[in-house]
Each structure stands twice: as structure tokens, then as C-alpha cells.
Symmetry: C2
Subunit: 260 residues, 2 copies
């Protein structure tokens, strides 16, 4: 089996958002991630495995319920986006644009305001999935959902969480007063001593600037993640990583409502 030069060029082109959007395909790498996606309803277009992998796992194709194309290690190195190529690479169809499903009326919705780091976005999808959050709304300035680092960091959760891109002011204007909107701020009410409402929105702000000032008028509850009450030394971290903050806030909502 050989991959054609055109196919190699095509796969490499999927590193770029433009090509992904034009073609409707994205790449995921690693045997576990590829099988997770295929088993979570993502539709594979092509799946490549090294001969070595197929020798070790001859029933991998059956597990996926999809044909796999064996390739030489050298070919895998040419198509892989990773510094250390994996044994398996899948080209998948992007999901059709998702719809908003009104989850904010009965459950939590995570709203991401210009999250720029793909590792952060992927990790947030994974944490949301873990804690049973099914709806995420991303601002238009957020990193592309199908960026390969987002896909890899999400560990398959990208297939299981409903992600909608929206202009956030339009989004909030359309659902005004339907549900609380929580935002994290340094001077907000500490989450561990706040009575959190079980449904509504949690906004996570951009890694550098926090929540955009134009969104602050929609926030009904200003919350914070407290640091230690007593410092032995004066200096400490000024902030948490955005994906850490998201997980801590979601977990506390779930804990208070005995949903975990």
C-alpha cells in the first residue's frame, strides 16, 4: 500500500484552518483517539496505520468497524502532524454546525470568550465531558475547534460535547434573563462560600485579558476561586491557567448540587 503524493499533500494541508473549512476534514492521531472518535459517532474518511501496528493489532479495523490502510513508517512520518508520529492517523469529517439546545435552562453551559491556546480549549472539552456538560459556546475569536492540538488535547471529547460558535453579545442578547451568567473575577464572591445555582452559564475569559469588558453587562454573578487565606510569604501566583479555572468552577457547581 502506498499513499499518493497528492494524498500526502492533502493531509498536510489539513494543518491549516482554511483547508479544513473548505474540505470539511480534520486529522486525529493515535490509536486510542482515533478509535474513540470512530466509536463516538465521528465519521472517518480514511484511517492509516503502520504495518507494525496492524501486525500487533490485526483486529484494529474490526474494532473501528472501518477499513484501515496500512502504510510504511516513513509514509506515516510524512503525513503526521506530531513530532513523534503515532502508529495511527485518521482523517475525519468535521461535524455539521451544531445547534444551540437550550441547555442553559436546565443545566450548565460553558461559554468561552476568546480562548486562544489550543491545549486549553481541548482540555476544557475533556473536563466538560467528564463533568457531564453537553453544551459549549465559543466566541468567534477562539482557537479553531479542529486545530490538531485541540483535537489531541480533547482526547475524544470533541465528539461528545456540543460546541457552537457564536458572537457572544448576540448570544446573550437572545437569551437575556433566561438563566444566570457566572463570570470569574479576582474580586468575585469565593465559589466555596457561594450558593451556586445549578443551571446557567459559566464564562471563561481569554488567557491574557480575562472576560471582555463588553460582556460584563451580561454577568449576573461575579465569582472567584480563592487562593490561600494565609500567606507565609508575600508573593504567590496571580492567576490560574484558564483550563484549570474552568474545571474548578464546574466541579464546584456539580459538587454543590450532588451531581458528582
Amino acid at each position: 500500500m502506498m499513499i499518493s503524493r497528492n494524498e500526502i499533500l492533502y493531509i498536510k494541508s489539513l494543518k491549516h484552518r482554511k483547508s479544513r473549512e473548505v474540505n470539511g476534514h480534520f486529522v486525529a492521531e493515535g490509536p486510542k483517539l482515533v478509535s474513540d472518535l470512530a466509536n463516538s459517532g465521528m465519521i472517518p474518511e480514511r484511517i492509516f496505520c503502520t504495518y507494525e501496528w496492524l501486525d500487533m493489532y490485526p483486529d484494529y479495523s474490526d474494532q473501528l468497524d472501518f477499513d484501515v490502510s496500512p502504510v510504511q513508517i516513513g509514509e506515516m512520518e510524512r503525513i503526521s502532524f506530531l513530532t513523534n508520529p503515532s502508529q495511527v492517523l485518521g482523517v475525519f469529517r468535521m461535524l455539521p454546525t451544531q445547534d444551540l439546545t437550550g441547555h442553559h435552562k436546565t443545566d450548565l453551559v460553558l461559554v468561552l470568550d476568546d480562548i486562544r491556546d489550543p491545549g486549553n480549549l481541548g482540555t476544557m472539552l475533556r473536563s466538560a465531558d467528564w463533568f457531564g456538560i453537553r453544551q459549549i459556546v465559543c466566541s468567534q475569536g477562539s482557537v479553531d475547534l479542529y486545530n490538531s492540538k485541540v483535537v489531541q488535547a480533547s482526547m475524544g471529547s470533541i465528539a461528545r460535547v456540543n460546541v457552537v460558535e457564536a458572537e457572544l453579545r448576540h448570544y446573550f442578547n437572545a437569551i437575556l434573563d433566561e438563566a444566570p451568567v457566572y463570570g470569574t473575577f479576582m474580586d468575585g464572591e469565593p465559589i466555596y462560600s457561594s450558593a451556586l445555582i445549578p443551571n446557567g452559564h459559566i464564562i471563561i475569559g481569554n488567557e491574557g485579558r480575562g472576560i471582555a469588558s463588553e460582556l460584563q453587562m451580561y454577568i449576573t454573578h461575579r465569582i472567584s476561586i480563592p487562593g490561600p487565606l494565609i500567606h507565609s510569604e508575600g508573593k504567590m501566583a496571580e492567576s490560574l491557567n484558564a483550563s484549570i479555572a474552568a474545571a474548578l468552577v464546574i466541579a464546584e457547581f456539580r459538587r454543590q448540587h450532588s451531581a458528582i
Copy 2:
């Protein structure tokens, strides 16, 4: 001002652990990170800023209480480790090897078993710092503390948290029975319904394999981070990112003891 060719080569060499260890220097980039490190007791060897930066912030050198060397943008691009170079790059002295300080008797100690992803390690330093954890013990198989991605992700916390490298079996043998040892497992007791002891160790396992089997004999409390009790669909995330798990566990210890 010009940087010599030798100096450029020297700075580039600090990408590699070997050169960092031989020379005792590491690189940190970004005006905020460099000033955070300098103001948290890290000793700078050289600090480079673009002329553009110095024009905008002529008192940057005074803030640091250290001379800065202005360079052309092209020179900064040559020495930077980042895809998008920052305006400021500092070469700092590595801290001398840290000592264990017996924190486990009165406070929490984070024990990292072969954390391999530099972003995860840096993020854990930042979260530990936020929650006032002052002692971290890393296994010898962990990613190097001064890897530039660790330094960048720690956001300055690398200067404020005491990190010791140790062979973890030796470490636990030496302090046997002195304090509880918590480890996270899929089948552990859910943290939100466990009465957690305020001092001792939290072990975070490797991203792929979890906690090494050879360490499990030292664990006195098997805990877990619960996912949602009710699933609308069958599938969900199988695990959390290691740095997310670490933050959730630390936060719950602190919450239960009203330390945050």
C-alpha cells in the same frame, strides 16, 4: 548594541537539558514572566529587550533592578525559543538543588510520578503556588523543571515553589508512616464525600499509565474525582488531564479545611 554570534549560540544551546545542567542557566521569555522571576528572587544573568520595548517602557530596567540589553527585533527572533518571539528574554541562573523541608508533617506535598508533558508540569507549579503548596517532589522520570515550556507555563511560580527531584521509592521509604499518602484511581473513594486529612502527600501519576505500580504500596488513601452520577448517553471522557486532576484534588483538600 549587538549580541555576539557566540552569545546567540550559547542562548540557543539552553534549549537542551544537557547545556542547562552544565551551565546552570535557563531561559524565560515575556516581560511579565521575566519581571516576575526577577522579583521572586531568581537571579538574572542577562536580560534582552527589543528597542521597541524600551521605548515604550523606559523604566523596565528599574522595575527589574537589573540592566537590560537592548537588541534589534531580528536579534530577538534569533535567540527566542518561541514561534512568536516576545519583546523580552531573560537568561537566569538555575536554583541550587532544593532540600526537603518536612512539609508533609503539617501541610500538603504534591508528588509527581513521571509527568512528561511540560505544559502539565508548569501548570501544576502554578496551581500549587495558587493554593499555597510550597513543596513538590518530582520523580527522576519527570520532564526537566527548566524545560522552557515548563518555565513558560508556570508563569513565574517556578521561583516560588520548592521542587525537589527524588527517586520516589527512596523518598517514601525514608518518611514511612509519617503522613498519609493520597493517590487518585478510577475506583478510589470520591473526594467530595471523603474526609480528607489536611497534611500529607498527593501523588499525581503519569499522563499515560497513571501511578506506577511500584508506588502503590505506599498509598494509604485511594481517592477519585467523580464524574456525573447520571449519564444521558453512554459514553463520556475516561479520564481528566493530569494537571486538571491535580488542581481539583488540591482545591478539595483546601476547601474542606477552610484554607481557601
